[in-house]
Symmetry: D2
Subunit: 336 residues, 4 copies
Amino acid sequence: MRRGGGKQTAERDKNRRKRRKRFEVRTDLALESRERIQAEKGDQGVSVREWREKNGAISLTEVRVKNDRGAKTIGKPVGTYLTLEMGQVQDQDDGWREDAADEVAAGLRRLAGQALGREEAGGFPGVHVLAVGLGNPYVTPDSLGPRVLGNLRITRKIAEDGDWPVISGIVPGVMAQTGMETAEILTGIIRETKPDLVIAVDALAARTIRRLGTTIQLTDTGIHPGSGVGNHRHGLTKESLGVPVLAIGVPTVVGAAAIAQDTVAAVSAVLEKGSRTKGVGTWLEHMGEEEQYRLIREVLGPELSQLYVTPPDIDETVKLLSFAISEGIHRAFYGI
Amino acid sequence: MRRGGGKQTAERDKNRRKRRKRFEVRTDLALESRERIQAEKGDQGVSVREWREKNGAISLTEVRVKNDRGAKTIGKPVGTYLTLEMGQVQDQDDGWREDAADEVAAGLRRLAGQALGREEAGGFPGVHVLAVGLGNPYVTPDSLGPRVLGNLRITRKIAEDGDWPVISGIVPGVMAQTGMETAEILTGIIRETKPDLVIAVDALAARTIRRLGTTIQLTDTGIHPGSGVGNHRHGLTKESLGVPVLAIGVPTVVGAAAIAQDTVAAVSAVLEKGSRTKGVGTWLEHMGEEEQYRLIREVLGPELSQLYVTPPDIDETVKLLSFAISEGIHRAFYGI
Amino acid sequence: MRRGGGKQTAERDKNRRKRRKRFEVRTDLALESRERIQAEKGDQGVSVREWREKNGAISLTEVRVKNDRGAKTIGKPVGTYLTLEMGQVQDQDDGWREDAADEVAAGLRRLAGQALGREEAGGFPGVHVLAVGLGNPYVTPDSLGPRVLGNLRITRKIAEDGDWPVISGIVPGVMAQTGMETAEILTGIIRETKPDLVIAVDALAARTIRRLGTTIQLTDTGIHPGSGVGNHRHGLTKESLGVPVLAIGVPTVVGAAAIAQDTVAAVSAVLEKGSRTKGVGTWLEHMGEEEQYRLIREVLGPELSQLYVTPPDIDETVKLLSFAISEGIHRAFYGI
Amino acid sequence: MRRGGGKQTAERDKNRRKRRKRFEVRTDLALESRERIQAEKGDQGVSVREWREKNGAISLTEVRVKNDRGAKTIGKPVGTYLTLEMGQVQDQDDGWREDAADEVAAGLRRLAGQALGREEAGGFPGVHVLAVGLGNPYVTPDSLGPRVLGNLRITRKIAEDGDWPVISGIVPGVMAQTGMETAEILTGIIRETKPDLVIAVDALAARTIRRLGTTIQLTDTGIHPGSGVGNHRHGLTKESLGVPVLAIGVPTVVGAAAIAQDTVAAVSAVLEKGSRTKGVGTWLEHMGEEEQYRLIREVLGPELSQLYVTPPDIDETVKLLSFAISEGIHRAFYGI
């Protein structure tokens, strides 16, 4: 379509992006943010590297958001996002857990080395790591963090000889249970116990169903407001807590709104293919996101942003992944 | 469109119903089945009675499916379905639990009296009730049954003097945990312990989100294949188990497919209102349910029928309702 | 034995007490401390008041330790200790829970009024209470605190209108799980969230088996080092935390050493009654507490002070008492 | 004391044994039964074999009770009892779990081969194993069985191709929760699902504290009345269930009465050593077991046989051992 100079096109793109933003269904995965953005334009301020683990069962993607421009493009803060992708964990053979733990360990060591300004090869002697299990232990897809903490070997107050890192841990609970922001609880604990590094483990919301139980994301950007299954209201970051915060996340839910949005998109595509309805699909797609959004809200009711979609065997998935992650933490810091 | 004769119309209706059937998103609530059916045609073989509890906080609906014709119309087996509806349990004041327990008790006594051929006023002395907590205790929205059982006062083997009913109880687990059909486990236990009545408590799938955590269904038809959050493969009925089976159910999930289907319907309605797109909506609605179904499967992937939608505070809802139900059982059989 | 004037007797008494001290099996109940002391000498600096609740099912004892002399005599810090005693909770009828909750509420209101320097009749509007569930949720007799917190209605961040108190809550976990002293965690949280009052709920060690699951102790002295099932290493008191600390405790275990000590005492008594062995009993009793202690350590091995005795139905007891306590807290602060 | 003839001695021995019997504190470990008996007389009808696992960390003892005479001598039914002993599991390095799982697997394969009359090398293709997790999941030291079942890969209804064994599983709960004997539940299930072999996992009572969390017992004699932490009232044996029953047990408690009995013995020994009290010790030891028993009952109250002693870190011990056992079952039957 030739009409419209470059400026107009840019303007239209901007508006479209803005509208899309408002309508956008949340994802906590940098990988998914980047996939959506990529279609539209070249990444700016974002570098991506992909590779496979030796035996090929796990593929890794590193998204680096290098500056504010990148952050704006991708909608995620500046930092490194390392994503491990595998098939459904429940279909994996027994070696999988070993491989996943190894990759989590390697990723953690690298991010911890950068965050602490140390050579990771040194093994972080004397470093005090505070592990935080975010989420609600009584809601299965939100229980990943508490489960990982339950598996973790806690060594602070037991083995403080300085040759090894020590790990302390807390399961702060969710606001409905505590009446406190997680940030309040952690700020207090950190001031008292002075860890060098926080590792926060959390269940995440993905954009697409096939990510559920197949993906682990490691990042050095901490936890940001609005993220996680429980929708954290405050961030847990180096800025807010005063110590570097690594985050380990596994998508366990998809927002219910995402299902509705995907359905609209699919209907549009179908209409576009029909000879009689050609044009209506495009019209529907561009009917105005406000109208689309209103439509979806109507379908789902005012609880829209609250509801989530999750598979029935999520208990098994969370159990298996929590073991892989706790073993990854053990290997990263205790070398075993 | 040429007006067809009566026969053709009937044929077309039948086909439409058939196609719809295949596409139909599951509900375990007779109330919802009846609502959908009602729009289409007068109920046949189905009687409905509605009333309010004294203080007005709980509304009750009794759907009686009187014969095979009614069963075909509504898609639920012959029997009595009593539904309690209230607002969100978490918004209720403290009297709610008392009221709900009273209504559950009254309903159970009536259904038990009918099932056992006894006067409910007599209080069922000497009757042995086997309470069954269906579902997966480790998946929050599926944990209603196990939670109710955890609250229940079990008296068999303790107080068998014959002046009161005695209750025994079992949490059989789900097939992924046991490798056994629940029906296998219960058949065996029933043959050994010879209860007079089974009360099965289960989490249900509803069709609409606003039913979640607001509704309790009591029925004397037992549990049927395909029902429940975990999709029971075999029925638990008087026919299969040899003793009358009352079922107490609370909808805690909506199938993810329902969200997609509702979205298609909403899109159709929107298109129908637009001058340019008028007709396309109708076309979309009737595009062929196969096509619609294919469309939705595409959106949601092959896990379609597996995924469910649930609210994030489902743990609290399940906890509160499980207390109301266990107290209702206590009042029905122990008179307290 | 006539030799020895008053001074010598006093000296001997002191030594005996000292030795006994070393040997003493721990009790967290002021009531039991006082019972043991009473036999020996008149209470000094300790006042005791006993009464019965209206319907007579619950008996109450208030031990007031008025000064350092009282504290030394009874081995408990200065403050008020209110003890509710009932029969085995599992044998109680349904009214029991109501009565117990009422008494807990009355006691809490009185202690809170004193601690905050307010009229309890005013209902503490605007006061922020931090409830703390001490203990290990995964060890049944130590899970009382976490269970009470699980039942508690948390209102901070939801209802801060100032007409009512607000409650926040935390289950800090035990040191083996966190690598942190509970005092560290709470100090941090209190500095951040500035509660006016802390209520710590904990499982206690009693001296005698018949106290298990029959007793609730309320005190305004907080939690002291060495107390509780998990043997807290640091105190949680107004001095250490900077806000008044009320403690609610239920004895759920008896130290295994207590069983051994009681057995020695019983053997002594038996020997004393035999004509041939008369004298040996006395000898045994006074064989030297060191020797007795050595003897018992030998029997039980070095884990001596670690092991505890608990009844097999402790899960039911903890469940029932946790409901009575959480309802008592609700009534004290929400007036319901 | 006049030297009695052989007959009198035998009579006296028998009486002593009888009295002892009545007084005897229960152990579920054949190893402990045998240790106590050995002191008194040569084993009859009992063979014992001891060896060490390759790397020496685990010692194994096989007690074979060969006939009724052996059964009477040792107080355990005819059959094979294989005991693994290691140090405290919590002090073990990471290889321990592998070694323990290997030994459990080897023992299970041998016992299963004997019970099924098959070559264990063949791997039991097509065999259906019903795993049973006995005990109360809500009482920590009694939760071993349910925990093992929670870790187990259940394959029946998933993989019935006949090349491998299939495992089904059930956690029947305890009588206070179900109002049913475990034997009733299992008889029913077995009749329906027709397993070839039952493996029952249970927490045991030991006689001495140092066995807690250090010992795993495998036997082909099933579960007998009065055994286990929960004191099973009925046996689960080939005779009662109709299929061979292997039992895997870990001692997690010592009866509180054992502590008292040991204390009496220790006091006796001390008295015997004193010049003035010599003779009294012997007298005490033989004061009449009735008197001793009465004495201990008095100390502990009527709950005597109910109370148990357990260490405070039992949650960790049960968790670690449950993994070793479930992995042992996997290796025995799935070869992994």
